[in-house]
């Protein structure tokens, strides 16, 4: 469970203080599917970085599964990221010199898991993502959709409870974008908490809960009575 209390994130730009996040109070339950929408500069990426422990709030508290993660040290935060949080980026962020399998394996390597178990889990993940025949390929030999599926496999290889996706379809064509969104939604159905940042209304409308942000504040937080049906094809690229 994610709980934010009075989160403030200020940046100093020249002699001006910019409130990227302004008194955010937010609770997201385990297994929820949340989209965060808003124009550029509304603070949605800052919110995602903060949820992913990549950024620290200027003030306020962040409770992750009951622990106050604003008070733990950097190494513990790194460990929490590794174990509990998966990131999916718009630009994939795959390491070009590593194969698809090696990219997926990376979080397990960083966690110090032995090689036999790593190979087993990577093979399973490749299978789930339908990438088995692409295991030995370098990222530049993969299509955009395949790259993003590699990135999703990497983000979920440590079985985190939260998956954070920042414009996951932003660099993909419509078909691959839909495929990626469906992959993410499947993971959500299996129990992962999915938080997607997007400024694409079509993608935003797929989630049950939608948070609208403007100027660092939450302007709207709506939860539909019934979730939109899966598999609709009204996704347009950003």
């Amino acid at each position: 469970m994610i709980k934010l209390e009075h989160i403030q994130r200020d940046f100093q730009v020249g002699d001006q203080t910019v409130h990227a996040l302004d008194n955010i109070n937010l609770t997201i339950n385990d297994g929820e599917y949340v989209s965060v929408m808003g124009p550029s500069g509304s603070g949605k990426s800052t919110l995602l970085n903060l949820l992913g422990l990549l950024d620290q709030p200027s003030s306020g508290h962040y409770f992750l599964n009951g622990d106050n993660v604003t008070e733990i040290n950097e190494d513990q935060q790194a460990y929490t990221r590794n174990q509990n949080i998966g990131f999916v980026f718009q630009v994939f962020h795959l390491i070009p010199r590593l194969t698809a399998a090696e990219n997926i394996e990376l979080p397990l390597v960083l966690a110090g898991i032995n090689e036999a178990e790593r190979k087993e889990r990577v093979t399973a993940a490749l299978k789930t993502m339908d990438l088995l025949d692409r295991a030995k390929h370098k990222p530049q030999e993969l299509s955009g959709g395949q790259r993003q599926r590699v990135a999703i496999a990497r983000a979920t290889i440590t079985k985190p409870s939260i998956l954070l996706a920042d414009e996951p379809t932003g660099n993909l064509d419509q078909k691959s974008g839909l495929n990626v969104i469906e992959t993410l939604e499947r993971l959500n159905k299996d129990g992962i908490t999915l938080i997607v940042v997007t400024h694409d209304a079509n993608i935003g409308s797929r989630s049950r809960r939608s948070i609208g942000m403007i100027d660092g504040r939450i302007e709207s937080d709506t939860t539909e009575a019934t979730p939109t049906s899966l598999g609709s094809s009204d996704v347009t690229p950003a």
Binding site: L54, D75, L98, V109, L110, G112
Partner: protein, 403 residues
């Protein structure tokens, strides 16, 4: 926590993915190590060469020089110093009384014109006695050395060096011929064999005559040197005391000679050449530091080029310590490989020098080899600390936003 083996594998992949960068850094590092190895090998080779030259002077040799010097060792001023009293042939004979003295040979040096049948040459003339040959361990190509007669009596015989023989006599037989040295005539009784050198002086270019003859030829009463060969090494201090006392007695209480041992001269040269070796090692070590700075530069560039990768690693849960480890391992791999390649290049270079100059025993000293590899590793690591720290402190949000 990241395992060391996986970290090394990851860094290795990073290095092999960027071959040009890796090659250039290895080149810099290996040139540094190789230059230390080769330059110290040259210094050591020169030192060993001089040492072996000195041993060819003969063993357990004590040299008596006229004139007193208060410093020990081979002060050049002493070699040509002005003396109160001459060092005479009788002084030399007196030194033979000590039971531990095996051989003595007086030495005079001068230059004179040597002529035979119209051919003339200015030549170094050495005046000495028959024991000089044994002390200097010279071989004769033909004939005999100077006869074993009373040193105070001159005789008109001479031994000539090989080069002189070739230049003056050419195809003619030299043995038994009379040659003119200065205004006197001498009969050639022997020809020195294989070209030996003594203290850098080529004996092939010399003519040796009895010391008394040299005295009258040059009209100088004083000897240039007395060589004293001692039976055992242990007896050298006793013999030196005996020489000083004997000369003092004979020179009316004046201790006006300097007695040096071959060891003392050798030690001086050894010190000079060791200092030279250290100096070139130091100069070469500078190139190692330059290589270290190059590694720092390239690693800094690497860190800024791989900013988004470092941000990604952080988002995947790499701690700052893991990032630091990864960058440092890259540097350690680079400097280790560079040191190994440099060591091999250095050994090849030394082998090349030895092949080109067989006289020069150009082997790098152990300390230089170990020190150069150690310095390569240490500079590699130290100069990577800054880039690694920079990488570890990168803000992941900023790092990830770079594309």
């Amino acid at each position: 926590m990241l395992h060391q083996r996986d970290a090394i594998h990851f860094s290795w992949q990073a290095l092999s993915a960027n071959t040009l960068r890796t090659f250039l850094m290895l080149l810099a590092m290996s040139i540094g190590v190789a230059s230390v190895v080769i330059l110290t090998a040259l210094g050591e080779g020169a030192r060993n060469y001089v040492t072996s030259e000195f041993s060819s002077l003969g063993t357990n040799l004590v040299i008596v020089i006229p004139g007193r010097s208060e410093t020990s060792g081979g002060n050049p001023a002493v070699m040509f110093g002005v003396t109160e009293r001459d060092l005479t042939i009788n002084d030399a004979i007196a030194l033979k009384r000590h039971p531990k003295v095996k051989r003595i040979a007086p030495l005079m040096i001068g230059a004179a014109e040597v002529a035979w049948q119209g051919r003339k040459r200015e030549v170094t003339i050495m005046g000495s006695s028959y024991e000089l040959q044994k002390i200097r361990q010279w071989n004769l190509a033909q004939g005999k050395f100077l006869p074993a007669t009373d040193m105070n009596r001159g005789s008109s015989v001479c031994v000539i060096g090989k080069d002189i023989r070739n230049e003056i006599f050419g195809a003619h037989a030299a043995l038994g011929q009379w040659i003119r040295i200065g205004d006197r005539r001498f009969r050639v009784v022997g020809i020195l064999g294989s070209k030996g050198t003594s203290l850098g002086q080529d004996v092939g270019e010399s003519v040796i005559i009895p010391v008394a003859s040299a005295q009258s030829l040059f009209n100088v009463p004083s000897l240039f040197r007395i060589f004293v060969e001692v039976k055992t090494r242990e007896a050298i201090p006793n013999v030196i005391r005996f020489i000083e006392n004997t000369i003092q007695e004979r020179h009316q209480g004046m201790k006006d000679v300097t007695v040096i041992t071959q060891d003392a001269v050798l030690a001086t040269f050894d010190r000079i050449l060791s200092a030279l070796t250290y100096a070139v090692a130091g100069i070469a070590a500078v190139s190692l530091f330059v290589a270290g700075i190059l590694i720092m530069n390239v690693m800094l560039v690497t860190v800024s080029q791989r900013t988004s990768e470092i941000g990604l690693l952080k988002s995947l849960g790499a701690s700052s310590k893991s990032i630091l480890t990864l960058i440092l391992i890259e540097a350690v791999l680079l400097s280790t490989l560079g040191a190994i390649i440099g060591f091999i290049l250095g050994q090849l270079g030394c082998w090349g020098i030895r092949s080109a100059f067989p006289d020069l025993p150009a082997y790098p000293p152990m300390w230089a080899t170990i020190a150069s590899i150690a310095v390569a590793l240490v500079t590699g690591i130290i100069f990577s600390l800054l880039p690694a720290k920079k990488a570890a402190q990168l803000d992941p949000v900023v790092a990830l936003s770079k594309r």
